[in-house]
Each structure stands twice: as structure tokens, then as C-alpha cells.
């Protein structure tokens, strides 16, 4: 149900004024607040202890050249950095963060998606999955990252390595990612099966299934 389709007029909360609006950066999507220096953690499973030397990254499915990289292999690829904001569906946003790793474009250039590939399922070592339109992970929009603010990515935030898709809600940025599977049709991932939106654009407030 769309947020603007109510059975009755949207109620103003009696006595609620909220935080001061002045100085609120217009970089905050609707319904989000600036978490400042905090970085809340949201995880559905036991935090795994991944050994980088045992981790691999695979791009397969509808590609011409399925490929698997070791920890050393991905570090040998041309590096790429993201500087900007991230937005979590639990309503916090974190501004001006820096992640370092490799662009997903670099992996896709090697794996060469087939023309019929239109969606991606990101798989984590834990069994966590999340689905994305292919267009949302190519064209400089997505990264495989292992550094946060110049230091190794902390394990509770997906370290040693996670997907980063910062223009979508952060559950799309799968922690402990190990595989991108290219598909010709969309298939719901973990949170998407559990009520969350298939695309998750924070500027459109696509939080839950049924949002526009």
C-alpha cells in the first residue's frame, strides 16, 4: 500500500515538532535522519569469521566468462573509491563516508554479461541473498569494498569484504558477499522474501513490498 493512500486523512501527531529542521542537509531522503558519527549494525544472522585467504568472489550465471577471484586477485584489480552517503531502511543515513575496493564494473567487464542478463542476485557466505536490477550495479554505481575510511572494513559491517550499492537502501549492500549471479528475471532475496522492496530506492521510499 502506498504511503499516500490512506483510508482516512493523515493524522498530525499532537504536540510533535521533531528535531530542528534548520541545517538539515537536503541530502537526506524522505524519512531518514543523519546518524552522525554512529554506524548502527543490522544483521539477521550470526556474524561469520571470514578468513580472507579462504574467501573468493565469483561472478557467474548469465555471463560469457564465469570467473572467480581470490582475495589477492581482487586486490590486484584497479582500485576504486566511493565517497558519499549511505542510507539504511531502518531510517538512519550516514553522510560523507569513504569506502575503498573495486568497482563492480571491473568484475563485469571480465565476466561479460550476456544480453539477456537483467538482474543480479548477490550471495553472501552466510547464505544471505539480495536481488538487484543489473543496471543498479553497473555504470559506476556499485563496488566490492574492503576498506572503510582507509582502514580494513570491520567484521560487524561486513568485513573483510562486502558489496556497496550506496544509491539503494543498505540491505542491498550484502555483507560478506561471495558471489554475483546474473539472471534474466528477478527473484526475491532474503529481505525481499521477508517483506522488503525489490529495488529499494531511498529517494522513492521503496522500503517494503507494495511501495511504489
Amino acid at each position: 500500500m502506498a504511503p499516500d493512500r490512506y483510508r482516512e486523512p493523515v493524522p498530525i501527531t499532537r504536540g510533535f515538532s521533531g528535531r530542528p529542521r534548520r541545517g538539515r542537509p537536503d541530502r537526506l531522503p524522505p524519512g531518514q535522519y543523519d546518524t552522525g558519527a554512529d554506524w548502527p549494525t543490522l544483521t539477521a544472522e550470526v556474524t561469520p569469521h571470514l578468513v580472507p585467504d579462504e574467501w573468493t568472489m565469483t561472478v557467474d550465471g548469465l555471463v560469457e566468462n564465469p570467473h572467480t577471484w581470490s582475495w589477492r586477485d581482487v586486490h590486484a584489480l584497479p582500485g576504486s573509491t566511493y565517497f558519499g552517503d549511505i542510507h539504511c531502511v531502518t531510517t538512519w543515513s550516514k553522510l560523507d563516508v569513504t569506502f575503498g575496493g573495486v568497482s563492480v564494473d571491473t568484475l563485469l567487464d571480465i565476466a561479460r554479461p550476456r544480453p539477456e542478463a537483467a538482474f543480479v542476485m548477490a550471495h553472501s557466505t552466510t547464505g544471505y541473498t539480495t536481488n538487484l536490477p543489473l543496471e543498479d550495479v553497473r555504470g559506476g554505481k556499485a563496488w566490492l569494498v574492503w576498506e572503510y575510511d582507509g582502514r580494513p572494513l570491520p567484521v560487524e559491517h561486513g568485513g573483510p569484504v562486502r558489496l556497496l550499492v550506496p544509491h539503494l537502501y543498505f540491505w542491498k549492500s550484502a555483507k560478506w558477499v561471495t558471489r554475483l549471479e546474473l539472471m534474466d528475471r528477478d527473484r526475491p532475496g532474503f529481505w525481499e522474501q521477508n517483506g522488503y522492496h525489490d529495488r529499494g530506492d531511498p529517494w522513492l521510499e521503496q522500503r517494503y513490498q507494495g511501495d511504489p
Binding site: 493524522p11 501527531t13 521533531g18 524522505p30 550470526v46 522474501q193
Partner: protein
């Protein structure tokens, strides 16, 4: 790959409104009982989003676990008042019966229990709230033998639903005060083991630090990592 994350097909509801009917509070917690007409029945463990709206259209929303069971005519939320909390502070200090709130739910299909399989639940602080819903549900459907709860709090006064939890047979471990001859301490492995015996699934709910401690202890008690479902929260006001 440690496990298969299954599709649980839990109920989901869209935006609606609820009227605050009953409430009580202490210095840190506020319990809200809301009348939500035509609500979608939730599964124990699911949550709702509560949204506050200012006159200029500004909104602030937060997620809260449901404490009531699906058979309860009202929807019950327990909110911890966080320092400077925009939403929790308002609910604690300003809300009163008759107020109408925007609500969305139920949400979440992973951290749920319908009363079907034997489970062990391990909650810290307000992390016990979804387990209160599970215990109430178990009692209503006669499935008490399928659920065991370990609740951890600093003191009996600060632990939400402490009396109800103890009356329902939960094991309560206090870390800052003694209780019935038990010296203040986090739960020990030998205290957890009898609760874990026979459980097919474990639920952990609490702060990030608590979740880390609890999943490790469950592992030591023999619970497989892929049988543990975690819901952890940071302070989000």
C-alpha cells in the same frame, strides 16, 4: 555456505493508523497499547513502524517489536526512552491516550515463530519484547513446552516485562543485582544448556554487544550458527 535462508511467507500490512488506548511508563520505558482497526494479524517476533508527523509535514519513524500476541485485541509496543531520542522521547514524555499514530505493519518474516517448532530465545534488555509476544502466543495456543526463554537485564526494575517473564517460566539473569540467591552475572554456559536442549532454532535479540555475546554462548552450548536468527539494534532514538 552455512545454511538455507527460507521463505517464511509472514503476514505483511501497509500503512494504517492506531489510537493509543492504554499506556504506562516508568522512568525509562513506555508501554503503548493501541487500537488498530482491521489490522493484519502478526506473527510473534514481527515489528511495526510508528511514524510521528509534525504540522509542516516533517516525519520521524522508528521500528518497534510487537509485545502482544496475535490473539490480543490491541497492539502492544514497548519503547525504551533513549537519550535525546526524537521518537522514543516524544512517546515517553508527550503521548497520551486518545492520540492517533501512523503505523505500518506487521513487517519482517525472518525473526518469527508461529508456535510450530521447539525454540530457545535469548534476549537482552528491550530485546526480550518479541519473546514476550512468543510466550503469550504459546500460552494462548497451548504450546508452552515448545519455547524456552533466557532474559538478561541489569536489574529486575530495568528489565521490561520481568515479572511476566518469570511467571511464564523464563530464566532471568541479572548482571548488576542478585536474584533469588543467584549472584549478579551474565548467564553461564551451564545455565543455558538445559534451555537449549531439544531446541531446533534459536533467537537472539538485543544490542550489538549482546547479540555477539549471546550467539557465541549459544555456539558453546552446541547450537549451530545456521540455526540462530538474530535481531540486533543500535540506538536509533
Amino acid at each position: 555456505m552455512t545454511g538455507e535462508l527460507v521463505d517464511t511467507r509472514a503476514p505483511a500490512g501497509g500503512w494504517t493508523t492506531g489510537t493509543l488506548v492504554e499506556m504506562d511508563r516508568n522512568d525509562r520505558l513506555v508501554r503503548l497499547r493501541l487500537d488498530v482497526p482491521d489490522r493484519v494479524d502478526h506473527l510473534p517476533g514481527q515489528h511495526y513502524v510508528l511514524r510521528l508527523r509534525a504540522e509542516d509535514g516533517y516525519t520521524a519513524s522508528r521500528s518497534y517489536s510487537v509485545a502482544s500476541d496475535p490473539g490480543d485485541p490491541l497492539l502492544e509496543l514497548m519503547v525504551e526512552c533513549l537519550p535525546g531520542g526524537e521518537v522514543s522521547g516524544f512517546l515517553h514524555d508527550e503521548a497520551r491516550p486518545g492520540d492517533v499514530f501512523e503505523l505500518r505493519g506487521p513487517i519482517g518474516g525472518w525473526f518469527t515463530w508461529s508456535g510450530d517448532v521447539p525454540v530457545v530465545c535469548f534476549g537482552g534488555g528491550t530485546g526480550v519484547v518479541p519473546f514476550v509476544s512468543m510466550l503469550r502466543h504459546a500460552r494462548r495456543i497451548g504450546a508452552e513446552r515448545l519455547i524456552r526463554v533466557c532474559a538478561v537485564g541489569r536489574s529486575l526494575a530495568s528489565l521490561p516485562y520481568s515479572e511476566e517473564l518469570r511467571a511464564a517460566g523464563a530464566f532471568v539473569a541479572l548482571t548488576r543485582e542478585n536474584l533469588d540467591g543467584r549472584v549478579a552475572a551474565p548467564p553461564y554456559l551451564d545455565e543455558l544448556e538445559p534451555l537449549v536442549a531439544g531446541a531446533e532454532r534459536a533467537y537472539v535479540c538485543g544490542s550489538v554487544g549482546f547479540a555477539s555475546y549471546a550467539t557465541r554462548l549459544l555456539g558453546e552450548a552446541g547450537v549451530r550458527a545456521d540455526a540462530i536468527r538474530v535481531e540486533q539494534f543500535g540506538a536509533t532514538g
